[in-house]
Symmetry: none
Amino acid sequence: MLTIKRLDLEDARSLLKGAREKATEIGVPMCIAITDESGNLVAFERMDGGKVTSITIAIDKSYTASGAKKATHEYGEASQPGAPAYGIGSAIGGRLMVVGGGLPVIVDGEVVGGIGVSSGTPAQDREVAQAGLDAFQSAQG
Amino acid sequence: MLTIKRLDLEDARSLLKGAREKATEIGVPMCIAITDESGNLVAFERMDGGKVTSITIAIDKSYTASGAKKATHEYGEASQPGAPAYGIGSAIGGRLMVVGGGLPVIVDGEVVGGIGVSSGTPAQDREVAQAGLDAFQSAQG
Amino acid sequence: MLTIKRLDLEDARSLLKGAREKATEIGVPMCIAITDESGNLVAFERMDGGKVTSITIAIDKSYTASGAKKATHEYGEASQPGAPAYGIGSAIGGRLMVVGGGLPVIVDGEVVGGIGVSSGTPAQDREVAQAGLDAFQSAQG
Amino acid sequence: MLTIKRLDLEDARSLLKGAREKATEIGVPMCIAITDESGNLVAFERMDGGKVTSITIAIDKSYTASGAKKATHEYGEASQPGAPAYGIGSAIGGRLMVVGGGLPVIVDGEVVGGIGVSSGTPAQDREVAQAGLDAFQSAQG
């Protein structure tokens, strides 16, 4: 029998809040998604002005990061032409995201969930996702 | 050119909060989704214990209610065997929901969004969605 | 080798126009789709106020009527519980529509396309689709 | 509450007309799609001879341009191997188009919709989409 460590809704809100504040700071309204360690959605917000196309992209970045236990930008590197994971980006009906902005949420070395951000450049998305993680870590004390 | 009225993220949060409080009150952890008037997701929360299968169901109930400008339970009645809309429930890849728990959000006679709730019985889902609407209306003053 | 008779864009426009005028007359803004005899979209219009959920439904009603050479309301009857085509409404990923409002376009006994209408009641959708056919027949002289 | 500006069906027709005339001029029958600012289809025409595969491509180019507020050819550049958005083209079930021919429709600095064109080379598609925008801007006068 397994015992799974999984973020709860309160954790998800703290991730969302940290990301949202950074997005506001850099002036880019974002779609922000939080998934649990099984890749299933826990919380989502589209800030006013966030892109419609980014709804699914944010959810899928978070799904990828939590489900594959890897940052989406790492897949970006590993899936370049000639690299070992070339072509992985169209897997799972296109849900496996290889663009930066999806990060696993790790506690005591275990992936407990993921955060996915979309609407800015991949660098901005990644910065905002990282701010979510930072806020969560601070809240964890 | 058209001018459209659409709920914003703050409105979505007030809908979520009203629904969540009712869900807590009746002791059923729910998935709660808020969409805008075009059916696109604005906010989502899965309360701890909410069903994994209800993630998509809540989102699609809200999509249906906002996009079709009709409560999902009305489709339930209209799509019974022998009724005029029989079979509509499998339309749009199954996204058109005919089970209660999806309600349009109406301001001054215009649909500005939707709320969709899932994890309880359809009657509970509908009660919780209605509580979201009530909280929103109160906040509107 | 086959020679296929297929409606052209001008025909599609005359179908659209007839349907649109009836929709305006009865005061229900509609989504109206025209497909060719292979089920592929030729023309589409969402009147101002037409439902977002009806975009796909109108297209799929037309797809069904032209592809299956049968009015969608006929499938509605044939797919009732206990009837021979029970369950057909979820076929093709839900594209096979059994709700009224899809009609084949027939010229000299051959199906050359289809029209699909959605946003009203199934009876209204069907009335508006029929008006499209009537206008087309008149234009054919 | 937000107030949104959205193109109406008459605007969509003027975009379609401008694009169609250019397509006729260059001798390439096109699929032309117009979406609103939320990415939902408003109008579509497949000119006689337009490609069947281009139906969805034109719709998705328009969806991408309006929903992401960006020309699809810009995504083409940003998603080259080694570039930051590499892999984005398979997102949203492949709906996010990175091939030229999708342009946002902008009025007073706001995206009010999109136009997507397909059946020619990407350069032809883009030229025809731009002609749609030009006709629309003239009509706005």
